[in-house]
């Protein structure tokens, strides 16, 4: 009996050891420190198991990365390769603009960030199993930025099909844009290439080049690797000739022969590239063919990167505060219509938009970056030009969840009465409260119309009985809305804002992207900014200053004469 008990105990102990070993195998090898930092700083979004399913994930788009698949968008490595440790470190340090991922440079020490890198790698076995370091994209041979390079890149942008998702001039409004999803089935908007400050992995030409060649793993963005290029292995001239022949309805015998020869060369080069990728040793001759082919491909890719770079301003515009407040410029005579070139001479003011997260339903994932505004006024009227990028033109979609009609829209908000002085209270920025606001509400379904509203709260807006004489024009072209509104400076309606030159007027915006589910309080917006009808320098400046100068000089002469006379009398 005793022996049996001991035997049983030993068996149980044996089972326990085996089980512990089985479970121990799944334990991360990275340090406890990495786990601790990860669980304190990263797990809220990325989940304790690294599946991208932390508590906050539900409300985020783009979704936090699921680390268990080894798919990383921002890499310095070729397509299909894992990122380098440095890539992961850089993303943690700098964050991902345009997404919810913040930079951790100040919040975590460099050491902690490296620990986190080691820890997140434990979520995907591929890192451990990899026998060779990931193949990095070759950045040598950069083609410097030039007009010529941009021109070449522009042609490639069309030829390679970038337009399909990124749109004619890069605003992310291509015809495939609304239907794109990522590897996990979530909506995935193509980048607006005119807004480099929202690029997840940076907008240097090198960054663009890397994204283009390596693709963004896990997203819809494919890699344009080597033999993706039509005419791989041909010179630039040969490949354009090949495409030219391809596009002919009928070829002569000679042309057919020529085309066949080009294709033969092309197929041979592709074969070499695949052999290399599959691990076959290349002969010296094949290596030469491959290197030459890649040189052409890389050169084209640099041209393309230069073109994309040309689409964006050098840096993000400064918000319209301080020296940048919106100043309506005075002109004499008629105010320019929407398509008048007079608008081009004005620099737009930039009003960044953020998601409305105060009142439900909220918008955590804005798709509209900002509204840009210009303005002119004359003795009786003021005209505004509002411009904002939106990847989709939505006028009557139905929201699956609420059944509400979704459409693109913009609201411009002013106080009904301008606060007297800088410390006087403004109405609550969310469509007013105790102090009411005066609104222009424009909808994409009625582009030639603006509705005037008075509001005392975000859910407490009333259409004004007397709709003023607003003139309106609205258009949508290549991913951008333009709205032109003209109104009299003074109106008879007491619920309207009355405008005087030189008075600083609070102004704020709300915008809706129907395709992003924006409706009612779910929207993007600004808080209060300022605009002013820039006062006209008065013509009296030609009379008073010289007069004062003259009087001053006269006074001085008089004084001198007086002093001289008294001195001589004393003498």
């Amino acid at each position: 009996m005793r022996i049996r008990t001991v035997a049983l105990l030993l068996t149980l102990f044996g089972m326990f050891v085996v089980l512990s070993l089985i479970y121990a195998q799944n334990a991360p090898e990275a340090s406890e420190k990495g786990k601790e930092v990860y669980e304190n700083s990263c797990a809220h979004c990325h989940g304790t198991e690294g599946r991208g399913d932390g508590a906050a994930a539900e409300n985020l788009l783009p979704k936090p990365r699921d680390f268990t698949r080894g798919l990383y968008k921002i890499r310095s490595t070729e397509t299909g390769e894992l990122p380098t440790d440095q890539d992961l470190f850089d993303i943690i340090t700098e964050g991902m603009p345009g997404s919810s991922m913040p930079g951790w440079e100040t919040a975590l020490s460099a050491n902690d960030r490296w620990e986190v890198v080691a820890y997140i790698k434990t979520f995907y076995d591929g890192f451990k199993e990899a026998e060779t370091p990931p193949k990095q994209i070759n950045l040598s041979g950069k083609v410097p930025y030039s007009e010529q390079s941009v021109e070449t890149g522009k042609a490639l942008y069309t030829e390679l099909g970038c337009i399909e998702c990124h749109g004619n001039i890069g605003r992310g409004d291509g015809t495939s844009a609304p239907d794109l999803t990522d590897e996990w089935g979530f909506q995935s908007w193509p980048a607006n290439l005119t807004q480099g400050w929202n690029f997840r992995g940076g907008a240097d030409t090198e960054d663009i080049f890397k994204r283009f060649i390596g693709g963004l793993a896990g997203s819809a963005m494919p890699a344009f690797e080597g033999d993706s290029f039509p005419g791989f292995g041909l010179t630039a001239e040969e490949s354009s000739r090949m495409i030219e022949l391809d596009n002919k309805d009928e070829m002569t015998e000679v042309e057919e022969e020529e085309s066949a020869q080009l294709y033969e060369k092309y197929d041979a080069a592709v074969d070499i590239a695949l052999n290399l990728a599959e691990g076959t040793e290349l002969s010296a001759e094949e290596k030469q063919i491959y290197d030459d082919a890649m040189k052409v491909v890389y050169e084209k890719s640099w041209h393309l990167a230069n073109y994309v770079k040309s689409l964006m301003p050098e840096k993000r515009p400064e918000p319209a505060i301080g020296n940048n407040v919106l100043r309506s410029q005075y002109i004499q005579g008629e105010l320019p219509e929407m398509d008048n070139t007079a608008w081009e001479t004005l620099e737009a003011r930039y009003f960044p938009l953020v998601g409305q997260i105060v009142i439900e339903p909220r918008q955590f994932n804005p798709t509209i970056d900002a509204v840009n505004v210009k303005s002119y006024y004359n003795d009786t009227e003021v005209a505004f030009l509002f411009m904002w990028d939106d990847r989709t033109h939505t006028t009557d979609e139905t929201d699956d969840e609420t059944g509400k009609t979704l459409e693109d829209a913009l609201a411009v908000q002013f106080p009904v009465k301008v606060p007297q002085g800088p410390t006087a209270p403004k109405p609550y920025f969310l469509w007013g409260g105790r102090l009411p606001v005066y609104l222009w509400h424009w909808k994409a379904s009625a582009p030639e119309q603006v509705t005037e509203l008075t509001a005392k709260g975000i859910n407490n807006a009333e259409v004004q009985e007397a709709q003023g004489e607003l003139q309106v024009q609205g258009t949508y072209t290549d991913g951008q809305y333009k709205l032109w509104v003209k109104r009299a400076l003074k109106t008879d309606d007491k619920k309207d804002l009355q405008l005087d030159p030189g008075v600083f007027v609070p102004i704020a915006f709300s915008a809706w992207d129907g395709a992003n589910g924006d409706v009612d309080t779910k929207r993007v917006m600004t808080s209060w900014y300022t605009f002013v009808l820039e006062p006209v320098p008065s013509s009296k400046r030609f009379i008073y200053p010289p007069l004062i100068a003259l009087l001053s000089v006269g006074f001085l002469f008089g004084l001198r004469a007086f002093v001289q006379r008294r001195n001589s009398e004393e003498a």
């Binding site: 008990t5 049983l8 105990l9 149980l12 089972m15 326990f16 089980l19 089985i22 698949r69 798919l71 397509t79 299909g80 030829e159 390679l160 099909g161 399909e164 998702c165 015809t175 495939s176 609304p178 239907d179 794109l180 999803t181 590897e183 693709g215 793993a217 819809a220 963005m221 494919p222 890699a223 344009f224 690797e225 033999d227 993706s228 290029f229 039509p230 005419g231 090949m242 495409i243 391809d246 197929d267 592709v270 074969d271 695949l274 990728a277 599959e278």
Partner: protein, 260 residues
Amino acid sequence: MKSYLLASLTVLLACCYIGTAFAADSDAGEMEMLVFPEKYKAMAVSNGGTISGVVKFEGDMPEKKALEITKDEKVCGADEKFDESLVVGEGNALKNTIVYLIDISAGKDFDKDAKVEIDQKGCKFTPHIQIVPVGERLTMLNSDKIMHNVHIFSKINKPVNKAQPKARRKMPLKAVQKAEGPVEVKCDVHGWMSAWISYVPHPYFAVTNEKGEFMLEDVPAGEYKLGYWHEACGTNSKAPVVVTVEAGGTITQDFTLKLK
């Protein structure tokens, strides 16, 4: 002493139970996959047998779901396109079912002359189901002369997402070395395009035609597990049919599948 023993036994049993629960969990994802032999040896097969049959669909005749063509109408919308995840023909014949041998370890080699291609024509992948031998290149054709991208959602092999611009007519893809499948192929540019490929280590795979028919030829005599996979109806990997093939003989094995 006894109660202590009992308690530790209970705890251990609980541990084991939890352990099996985990094991079952990790299996769940793989249930929909094909099952491959660990090793396969290619050899000459003489006087092999044949397995043939018909796969039928059981259930209400599904309605044809027309695909919404949202762009490139001229090329993509020339004819009406239908969702191919469930294609049921006359007499309930179920197209696009993979029927295969699960546990064959030696048999014939692949037909080296067979073309392993998927065409992108009219913004549709043809065929919808393609079998790709491990180590062979899958060639993507672009008959459309418009931009496509080949997005292969592999998990065991490296996923592929490669642009195929309009002038890129015939794009062979790098061969993969691990058996895996089926994995979906999509085109992000035209979101409705969908196909399935399977990277397989042996040639005993058949895909049913419009009449639901399949045929596996040159099977060495022996007993085999016969499996199937269908996009909408699932697999029988957990309980495959066992068949006995006789030298030179032909056996018939039909299947009737329901929606999973």
